[in-house]
Amino acid sequence: MKLTPKTATLLVLAALIALTPLFFPSGYYYRVGALIFVNGLSVLGIVILTGYAGQVSLGHAGFAGIGAYACALAPVHLGLHPALAIVLGAVISAIMAWLVGRPILRLKGYYLGVASLGFGILVSMVLSNERWLTKGPDGIEVPDLGLRDLLKDMGLKLANGEFWYFFSGICLLIGAWLVLNLYNSPTGRALRALHGSEIAARTVGVDVAKLKLQAFVISAVYASVAGSLLALMNKFVTPDVAGFMHSIEMVTMAVLGGAGSVLGAIFGAGILTLLPQVLTVFAEYEQLMLGAVMMLVMIFMRDGLLPSVLRKIRGRGE
């Protein structure tokens, strides 16, 4: 049986998620792993938007903020189960993305970057200033997802860190599977055509504005779900989740690892989540090293870390 790239990617990912815990010396590594998966999930959205459709968003943290605060607020005010709150957040994010994207994506050029930047800042301002609802910049507590207790009743006892590691790992796998399916679908092909040349795509009958809007909405849902998971995992969320720095972080993770490749983007999320933990040894030089790593990757590996390395290995094999 010949492995398709899609199955291979999913298998590698599943194996990594399942096997790395064997090497974990303490519960802290589950936490780092879970963070990588959650970041990876939001970066998958960037793969669709930037890697496939060639659009740049500088406000995706805004959607993460909507997802996160949906999980904080809906269970308290609407009596919704946290799992349904994730869905609610995703729906709101999709609607917001549609409203923001529809007029903007009819235009050519970098308007989406600016519009999404404004949107992200707007969300984080609302979250900070509407104290009566969001409790303001000091943050708000998030109810428990309840799934861990459910598993416990079924006889499967997991520590909090372990639960979130596997739960977010599974979410990431599902997310990756959907992205890979999209890649091979007619929509995915059209998206890639659009990335290659907008004019050429238009000439062969691709509805460019509609496709870009689709990609933007889907990626917003990814960011929203990732934001929800982060909030539920931390059981606490502050408006920082919607902050500008978080938006930049998402784009950087995707570009660093390789925005056009699912594994690459997740790898980028992994690197940028791990580096600050590894670099604590260097204390004051942490930021400096982080900047240097990113600059070097961008100069010498323009397609992103993973695709460049893989190409090098393949090149040597031939």
Binding site: V12, L16, T20, F23, F24, P25, S26, G27, Y28, Y29, R31, V32, L35, S128, N129, R131, G136, P137, D138, G139, E141, N160, G161, L230, N234, K235, F236, V237, T238, D240, V241, L263, F267, G270, L274, P276, Q277, V278, T280, V281, A283, E286, Q287, L306, V309, I313
Partner: protein, 380 residues
Amino acid sequence: MKTLTTTALGTLMALGLATAAMADIKIGATVSATGPASFLGDPEAKTLEMLVEELNAAGGINGEKVELVLYDDGGDPNKARTFATRLVEDDEVVAIIGGSTTGTTMSIISVAEDAEVPFISLAGAVEIIEPVKPFTFKTPHTDRMACEKIFEDMQKRGFTKVGMISGTDGFGASMQAQCKSVVGNYGIEIVADETYDPKDADMTAQLTNIKGADGIQAVLNPGFGQGPSIVTRNYKQLAIDLPLYQSHGVASDGFIELAGADAAEGVRLPGTALLIADILPEDDAQKPVVTAYKAAFEAKTGTPVGTFGGYAHDAFLILKDAITRAGSAEPAAIRDAIEATSGLVGTTGVYTMSPENHLGLDLSAFRMLEIKGGKWTIVE
């Protein structure tokens, strides 16, 4: 794909090696030494490093050396939680100091409570210790206490109608809410309530509104960072002839410098003994502690001592005291000993904890200060 796995494993191993050092008593800390809250975390980190060094030079606690595992969360609650998990799970510390901001503190609490490791926060909000959580303590007085101290002083001066201008950052917004909730107890009415963004460069519009409020007798400005300095300068420029109160958030010499001694003249605020170490009366219980800390910190870092570093000083003092009394470095024993802290003199005040009170300070910890001729003076 092999490379990916090797790289991932390599990184994980590097993580493991980095934390392999051993010590007798391991104390963990995560503070915001960089980022937007670095003015809190930087002196806190330096204070903790200095105190551990001093302690080990003097032989440690009960003959055992102390190792400090210090992380910088950059003010990001998500990172703070990760570092707290790392401290508890990987470094296996016996207690955690930290959480420079309310946001980082709140995300550390559940980690410490789950792992049953005592946690002493360095942040202000009253939610941290109310309701009381078994393993969570804190050293700074709450913003509600600052409001009470200010209103007490206003009441003494016979003011009944005051205006407020607050920052919309975490500190300002929280204190604004707390002040409004206790103001009624002092027979004082808030007749003007304005806000500003901490990044604003001019607050004349809000101050003009306040100036025009009917019957207003004094103005209170809850806020931190540069905002209060700008308010103070604008206040002077508009020639508003009412007493101005600032919060404990700007209780540092930096505030007088930024606002200008001229504009800051007559400004009152609740501060700690640390700020006025030089002019404290000789018989003051806190005099020896604040003088010693001030001298050591300034000699070591070359920067003036501030209230925030003092919070970290007190947290470490409480912990040291608790471990000494417990005679053990087991987290549960330390927790019980912290709760039994009694009459411990710190830089912020005198701490007496109880199962119902995990802060242990009262209003006497605050001194009402007034700026005169660019210097702090005690109002009594």
